[in-house]
Symmetry: C2
Subunit: 436 residues, 2 copies
Amino acid sequence: MELKDKSKFPKVVIIGGGFGGLQVARKLKDMPVEILMVDKHNYHTFQPLLYQVAIGSLEADSIAFSLRKNFAGQKNFRFRNAEVTKVNPEKNTIDTTIGEIAYDYLVLATGSTTNFFGDKDIERFSMPMKSIPEALNLRSLILQNIEEAVLLNTKEERAPYLNFVLVGAGPTGVELSGALAELRNHILDKDYPELHKDHMKVYLVEFQPRVLGSMSEQASKGAREFLTKMGVEVLVNTKVESYDGNEIKLGDGKTIPTKNVIWSAGVMGVIPHGISKNIVERGNRIRVDSVCRVVGFSNIFAIGDVAAMITDETPKGHPGVAQVAIQMGNHVAKTIVQIINSEPTAPFKYFDKGSLATIGRNKAVADLGKLKFQGFFAWLIWMFVHLVSLLGFRNKIIVFINWSLSYLTYNGGARLIIRRFVKGGVTQNGHMPKDN
Amino acid sequence: MELKDKSKFPKVVIIGGGFGGLQVARKLKDMPVEILMVDKHNYHTFQPLLYQVAIGSLEADSIAFSLRKNFAGQKNFRFRNAEVTKVNPEKNTIDTTIGEIAYDYLVLATGSTTNFFGDKDIERFSMPMKSIPEALNLRSLILQNIEEAVLLNTKEERAPYLNFVLVGAGPTGVELSGALAELRNHILDKDYPELHKDHMKVYLVEFQPRVLGSMSEQASKGAREFLTKMGVEVLVNTKVESYDGNEIKLGDGKTIPTKNVIWSAGVMGVIPHGISKNIVERGNRIRVDSVCRVVGFSNIFAIGDVAAMITDETPKGHPGVAQVAIQMGNHVAKTIVQIINSEPTAPFKYFDKGSLATIGRNKAVADLGKLKFQGFFAWLIWMFVHLVSLLGFRNKIIVFINWSLSYLTYNGGARLIIRRFVKGGVTQNGHMPKDN
């Protein structure tokens, strides 16, 4: 499982090709190290646009980019498409689905996954949206349930198929509820002449007192107004008690019949086996020192969503956003080179570039330092920032065209059920086409 | 399961949203009929470009188009996403996975599927490519097997993963083998620095004496020359004896170790239960009269790949190409209106517009009536014809951009393993990521 041309350069193994892992490998280009990236997918996922894949506005291929293609030509880079099962710090190796791999330096850039907070029913019946396969499952579920609604005759029978409940009003919940509202407002009547848009309802449920809790008060207020105007029912200060696949029970006693619960109420770090529970913080994140080194180890680093750098300034660690992962990745690449050269290292400092969230057509909110604004201009900035951040020229141009056409026609998106969503082996209505 | 607003117009049920079914529904727009289209997919598939999805040059969403979106606004059109299990001609209904549906006129536009000629091993171990899910499976298999090859050390160990055997040298086999040769020639070394292009081999196996047997001698000769120049080993007059998943045995005694056999050696019509075997011809096609009416029935039609119109001019029926389906669809729509109006009907006449096949960059062959030519100009025509035939402005523009970028960079295509190909529940190497 070793690289064939063994060099004398130290070997840096990066687990994960997300924003953080990508940055480490990029910054180590031309450095005297051998890089091996391991990822269970052969592509980088641009997570901020996952919700547009789920709603069917963008193809999965537009927001993903082949890791091999991205690093083609970088001579010190190798890639392995595998899952990591365990870290063995005592012998400086990792166990993977394709065998054991040795490292001199290890970077855990494993990211995060959905946190159901131990509720097995919610985990079983609700839909997460943290990866491309999950977004595609969600897309199929949404479209399949609208197809089911077409077959039913009364508003009551249709309700569970046309009620969409998003739990967690972070950027994902806000952006996806806005996109669902636009589907309802502009597309439902056209594509499904049997249905009426009043039959479809979108709920956004949040335990905290406001949506976009990590952004400013102004952003929260703006986002909530936009959502309400688009017809989303925003329920703040509201806890989810239970969900059984047919009905969601809320803390205030309210119940909503629904087969569509999308869970974006929390994330947790993805930690391979072999990392002691003693250094795992809240949110399943690994405690790191000021240079992102995992506490207790000299040659293992953790960055991004899986890292908890607890300082006086950041008592809960850094926010789980792309910028943190990118900046930590940068810092770790630099630190590894400094360690190799026996140079002094410097502590990591996060530079907050601000936050953006979009709600819909011409509607976004922006917190850029002291500048806080909402509406059309924020939406333009949101689009620009996301376009330039996308990996690959092809992806940028294809996303741009898709957005332009959607803007002009009010009817973007292919809305194809390419693979039916199948939970537990059968679809909700019990049948499954042969060539799924 | 009936349409709610029952009108007095006769009800035309169309099974299948391929080239033929689509045309029937289009031509019946504004006619005094109620149309119900039933398809197991909610989209139309542009089959001529499936091979580009398989090779990873195009997204699935670019060659598929939502049937609902396509007919949005056509007042007499309704759609049901379901599979048809049986036709009940005695009571003018069909059984489907969403219940029984009544018709006054029924159009079978069910198309064709891969014909393995009863060989269970070949069916089990080789890959068909007649639908988008199948093309995506093939894409994943190709990329997964190249990833496997990276993990192996000798040319011999790698061979089964890097030998690609295409059986059947019709347009699909020719186009896909050309695309695989281009992957080998331009991309393999770049994306997989551990591999060398000499390790990958592409074979095109054909039982008949020439490739593209349905086209002219000139086209066959041109295609074969192009393929050979690109490094494809073309084996004509060669039968496949057996394939066990690891090794394919050919009629001449040759064996090739390979985990990649793509089977495009034959198709057969898809016939729902309830149609008597007595009227089923060679290739599993339903015998129809001169207006595409199924023999023995006054109100059931069959068109395209599933129809066999046996006449003196067409003793084997018409070729299984899009143009036949489209022209038959047109004719059947006209015929149904004539029957409703008690007007005389006219026999179907096929107008052959010619054939095109592409082999690769700047390389195609064209038979357009008496004009037969090969090379760059044929390739331009091929691209033009396919672009204008694609459904939807968005798809046309996105395919055009993908092609342009591929042309400029020699490195188009996203090549993502979005869903791992899993045969019989486990991947070839026995592991499967959790969020497949």
